[in-house]
């Protein structure tokens, strides 16, 4: 198997603060790969570096063997990488399904002429996009909100909506930044199911998460960060018994 995402010696410094320092790991296609660590360990910074929101100070990120560290987020989306955010990024000026249809952006080839005169080619594409998006909303479990204004939806539903939007872009790898944050136990259990179903479809999932029960249950491999450095890497079983991890988490 070849690595889908490969991170080599990646570092990011903000002024004198080394948020991420010398991090290397690789994620194989089809895996659920989680990044864990205490608050301020650099997990979200790492995700922002991988997805092109930050430019690394040094090191490189490869997607399918191609170096992507200098590309913009929209160029990464074209290459099959999509993500959600800890601070949800939902377009509150649109309806729920329009947010998901926005995820279809790259698959909908439209020009100004067909758009302005609403030619049949456009309506056909829109109809198909709406159908796919409605199915995705059903899939993530917010199918009852189709034409609801996003601004009128609950926090939990919006979290699911954001995942649906990411999936609408037909990614090879999707990065979920703390998808369980703010969810109750029932919602978290449903999320666990959802992540499994996403992985079953052959989509590689990368996860930043605090909920240990969730992470240990669904991850194929884990990366533990502490103060921006890699503390441990391995299967859930290896991580659970790693003395360094136990020390960092339980304060040994």
């Amino acid at each position: 198997m070849t690595a889908l995402v490969e991170v080599n010696n990646l570092s990011k410094a903000f002024g004198g603060v080394h948020a991420v320092e010398g991090v290397s790991f690789s994620v194989e296609a089809g895996q659920v790969y989680s990044v864990i660590g205490p608050n301020g360990a650099g997990k979200t910074t790492l995700f922002n570096l991988i997805t092109g929101l930050y430019t690394p100070t040094s090191g490189e990120v490869k997607l399918n063997g191609e170096s992507i560290a200098k590309l913009q987020p929209n160029q990464l989306a074209e290459r099959g990488m999509c993500r959600t955010f800890q601070q949800m990024q939902i377009c509150m000026n649109m309806t729920a399904i329009e947010n998901v249809m926005l995820g279809r952006h790259l698959t909908l080839k439209s020009n100004l002429l067909t758009t302005l005169f609403r030619l049949p080619a456009l309506t056909r594409g829109e109809k198909a996009a709406r159908k796919t998006s409605a199915e995705l909303m059903e899939f993530v479990g917010c199918g009852e909100y189709l034409d609801t204004e996003a601004s009128a939806m609950s926090y939990g539903a919006l979290k699911r909506l954001e995942i649906a939007r990411a999936l609408a872009a037909e990614p090879k790898v999707v990065l979920l930044d703390e998808p369980a944050a703010g969810l109750n136990a029932v919602e978290t259990a449903a999320l666990e199911d959802l992540i499994r179903k996403i992985a079953e479809q052959g989509i590689t999932v990368m996860l930043v998460e605090h909920d240990m029960k969730l992470v240990m249950g669904i991850s194929d491999r884990l990366l533990v960060l502490n103060y921006g450095r890699v503390l441990a890497e391995g299967t859930p079983e290896q991580i659970r018994t790693n003395p360094d991890v136990i020390a960092a988490y339980l304060g040994g």
Binding site: L102, L106, L116, F117
Partner: protein, 335 residues
């Protein structure tokens, strides 16, 4: 049946068409027609500006500049070079598109106040050029503009026309023409908004980060909407010049740019029909308050401020919200 209609995506357009075509039943005075024509043409420019401001969340405080270029280009080409009005209008719009694209690429990287300042400067530069190029534009004194013509057929407020066997005056003919142009402007704008391109534009407003991670090239779409809204202004400016028969650099002035923005904010950012109501209110208000003409800018400033504080969503969305809440309340009471 009613429920079906309320779901219909072009219900606003149908409503507008009814108002436009019913209005001549209630007015007959040439002055009223002239005012209505002027409102329709300005409203068309406001619909375009709303695409930029209301939907894509960017600002332009220099949009009158593009309106002015459209008006002057068409005026100069038809009066000095014997062009017909339609080609002058089209070439002017293409020129404005190029200018807006070249100017827009760098300045749309700016955000908030910085973008306001940059667009303000663009408007000022255009106004200064129109004021100073006396040979071409007549400078501050303005210049006469020939009547609008289509394939040798001339549309003049002083003419007499027959439409479906009815004799109609030039005032009414111009009004109907402007009304149809406004309806077309609204139709195109609504088609644009309700499309993949429209969603990309709105996502730039909603969350630029969200837009970019699903593959939207936000810089490209900001430029695109800036160009489209500038073309709207240019076309409406050209028609406005032909209708008025005389233009001065005030069509490209800062005051006019602010008026356009105020119409968008008052009517409701992101509501195509709302901003037309904004244009109607702000064009009629000075007529009602003719005695206070000196205070016009103060009044617009006050309206802009009060709208931002008390009705940040603007007239139409606020009213629609209010009605929806009342309906929900009374429905709850019945149960």
């Amino acid at each position: 049946m009613m429920a079906q209609f309320s779901q219909f995506r072009l219900k606003g357009l149908v409503f507008l068409a009814i108002v436009v075509f019913a209005l001549p039943l209630f007015i007959s005075n040439p002055f009223h027609y002239s005012l209505a024509t002027q409102i329709a043409l300005i409203a068309g420019a406001v619909v375009g500006l709303n695409l930029l401001v209301g939907f894509a969340g960017q600002i332009s405080l220099g949009h009158a500049g593009f309106f002015g270029i459209g008006a002057y280009f068409s005026g100069i080409m038809t009066s000095n070079y014997g062009w017909s009005a339609i080609p002058a209008l089209i070439v002017g719009a293409v020129g404005v598109a190029v200018i807006a694209w070249v100017v827009g690429r760098p300045i749309l990287r700016l955000k908030g106040h910085y973008l306001s300042m940059a667009t303000l400067a663009v408007g000022f530069i255009i106004a200064i050029i129109l004021n100073n190029e006396r040979e071409l534009t007549g400078g501050p004194d303005g210049m006469p503009v020939p009547s609008f013509d289509v394939f040798g057929w001339e549309l003049s407020v002083f003419g007499q026309y027959s439409l479906f066997g009815m004799e109609i005056s030039g005032d009414l003919a111009w009004y109907l023409f402007a009304g149809v142009v406004l309806l077309a402007a609204v139709w195109l704008a609504q088609n644009l908004i309700d499309s993949p391109i429209g969603r990309a534009l709105r996502s730039v407003h909603g969350s630029e980060v969200a837009a970019s991670v699903v593959g939207v090239n936000t810089a490209k779409y900001k430029s695109l909407v800036f160009v489209i809204s500038a073309v709207y202004a240019s076309v409406m400016g050209a028609l406005y010049g032909h209708f008025q028969g005389f233009i001065t650099p005030s069509v490209a002035s800062f005051d006019f740019s602010i008026l356009l923005i105020t119409m968008v904010v008052l009517g409701g950012m992101g509501s195509t029909i709302g901003v037309i109501i904004g244009a109607v209110v702000l064009e009629l208000l000075p007529q009602l308050l003719a005695d206070f003409q000196e205070m016009e800018m103060v009044l617009f400033g006050l309206i802009l401020m009060l709208t931002m504080i008390f009705m940040p969503k603007g007239l139409l969305p606020t009213a629609a919200n209010f009605l929806a809440k009342r309906r929900a309340k009374s429905a709850g009471g019945d149960a």
